[in-house]
Amino acid sequence: MTPILAVNNLTKAYGPLVAVDGISFAIPAGSCFGLLGPNGAGKTTTLEVIENILPPTSGDILYKGQPRSRAFQNEVGIQFQHTSLLAMLTVWETLQVFQALYTDGEDLDALAEKCQLQEFKHQRHENLSGGQRQRFLLALALVNRPQLLFLDEPSTGLDPQARRNLWEIVHAVKASGKTIILTTHYMEEAQHLCDEVAIMDHGRIIAQGTPEALIHAHCEGVTVVLPRHSFRQPLETLPLSVQEMNGAVHIQTSNIDDCLKQLLSCQVDLSDMSVYSPNLEHVFLNLTGRHLRE
């Protein structure tokens, strides 16, 4: 089956600076695809080239198997990471204005219900809180009943509750059969929403697959984390492979029993110990030696 979007060897350079360096991926219709990576990895640039906002330096972008035509802009919905809108308009008026720019349109009452805009739909959009604004921008991206939805860092800056709330809405959108491509630097977001993830760093895709497959391929067992002061001896003398980051010692192990026995035998204080199952953060850490939000 032809993917709804295929990106082949895409490059975007600004003079000597290569922001996106020959990446390729394909997205099946109805799935949620995530570009995960730290700030500056090239995620937003990739998205904006696909959205037709920026011209590519080289490479092909195929929508439904064809180069993007004028119909492309009509069939996609876009939520920008940073954007401004027409001033002095209410939420409802802005939805009406944007809907009129497209040939097809979602029922606005149903959309407001889905994105939980009812309470503030007659307020000026400049006066919304962070969570309200993100839900409003999501509604704006859905106003034309898009087949392909772009979400650029949709939950950045939101508190955990507002983020969960937004995820629920994105889940509902996904359940309605739309294809979603999103960028994020939150591994929880990618793990929670995406069917497939491409991890980007320095403009390149360094790993790609389902979150489970990536974790399985790049992480072993669990991670034991202890504060540095729990260790009396130099870390090099431990009979375990450890990494020290930000004052904490990370130990990955496939056998938690053996690991704990060895730590006890070395007289390590385990009272502040935490044990984590591996996630995409660990995948990125193992691939690059850095945290996603460093």
Binding site: R70, L86, A87, E93, V97, L101
Partner: protein
């Protein structure tokens, strides 16, 4: 092109304008205050410089020493002498408040003409009379009056103030707003929709023209209640000229809005264009006696042609046929500005 898209962008821009109450109110208050201030309180001209039309003399600025006028008058400070070939030419300028007094050169008896509606004319007359003290000269003086209907200063000034207000509103309302939207990313958001640059710019232009004409009508009739303007020609023709002027000035605004994301740079560019246009298009004072190159520069401004056409209709009763050169120039400028603006336009650079 879809008219629905133009229509919603037109409506959105109008909502923005009408809801920004401070800016909305200022658009009406500003021209009214200017008319009141300059038209009533000060008579509208700088107080110390007087333009003396002389004939027969070489056209334009003349060498004072060569004029056959009383020596004391020629040596008076703050006088600028402007030459005319004939009496008719000079009186025409007097009627239009472009000069303050007309004097026939040559041996006595001197003859002079003033415009009774112009306060500066009476002051210039006093200066001329004072320079003739000494008996016989005074007796030889002959005072004339312009025979056609006089034009009040307020009737000459008012179209200028309205046109100037229109210029600022057109240039800033389009040029500055579009650059601001480009800088804050709103244009980028619109670029992500099927809206085309042509549709967006058309909506911006139409909205601004609608607002300019709306403001014009309100201010015109509001001021008319107070100042009772004399309109020799057709008010409909005047408004048609204003419409063509708003078209070309708004199109000029589109050229300034075509590129750039710096509001500071755009402010500088707008000032660089609007201030010379204001001073050289005869909004406040006439360019009679100014160097030829200054007059040529003034011809490059749409405001010059707009004002020439409107004053001819308002003050002289000219018809559309009489002002066809101004109409043609305004339409030509609109075409050029639109083409350049559309060619250069960028959503995000």
């Amino acid at each position: 092109m879809r008219f629905r898209r133009i229509w919603v962008m037109f409506k959105a821009r109008n909502w923005e304008f009408f809801r920004d109450r401070a800016s909305f109110g200022w658009n009406f208050l500003f021209p009214f205050l200017l008319v009141a201030g300059f038209g009533i309180l000060f008579g509208g001209r700088e107080p110390t410089a007087y333009k003396i039309g002389v004939f027969p003399a070489p056209t334009g600025a003349v060498a004072v020493a060569s004029l056959d006028l009383p020596e004391a008058f020629k040596e008076t400070r703050f006088l600028q002498f402007v030459g005319f070939a004939s009496q008719d030419d000079a009186l025409e300028k007097l009627r239009h408040h472009k000069i303050d007094i007309v004097i026939r050169t040559g041996p006595p008896p001197y003859a002079y003409w003033i415009n009774d509606a112009a306060p500066n004319g009476h002051l210039a007359e006093k200066i001329f009379q004072a320079s003739l003290t000494g008996g016989a000269d005074t007796a030889l003086l002959r005072k004339g009056r312009i025979t056609t209907a006089e034009i009040r200063y307020i009737d000459w000034l008012f179209p200028g103030i309205l046109a100037m207000n229109m210029m600022f509103s057109a240039l800033w309302g389009v040029g500055y707003i579009v650059v601001r939207y480009r800088k804050n990313g709103a244009l980028r958001r619109l670029k992500a929709t099927p809206l085309t640059a042509f549709e967006y710019l058309s909506a911006q232009m139409l909205s601004r023209i609608f607002l300019l004409m709306f403001t014009l009508v309100v201010v015109w009739f509001g001021c008319d209640l107070v100042f009772h303007f004399h309109v020799e020609g057709s008010l409909g023709h005047i408004f048609l000229l204003f419409f063509l002027g708003s078209l070309s000035l708004t199109a000029m605004g589109l050229v300034l809005a075509a590129r750039g994301t710096s509001e500071e740079f755009t402010t500088g560019t707008l000032n660089f264009i609007s201030w010379p246009m204001m001073f050289l298009s005869e909004v406040w004072f006439s360019l009679e006696g100014a160097p030829g190159w200054v007059k040529q520069v003034a011809q490059a401004f749409p405001l010059t042609h707009l004002l020439q056409g409107i004053r001819r209709i308002m003050n002289d009763g000219a018809g559309l046929v009489d002002v066809w050169p101004q109409i043609a120039v305004l339409l030509l400028m609109t075409g050029i500005f639109l083409s350049v603006g559309a060619y250069l336009f960028s959503w995000d650079q």
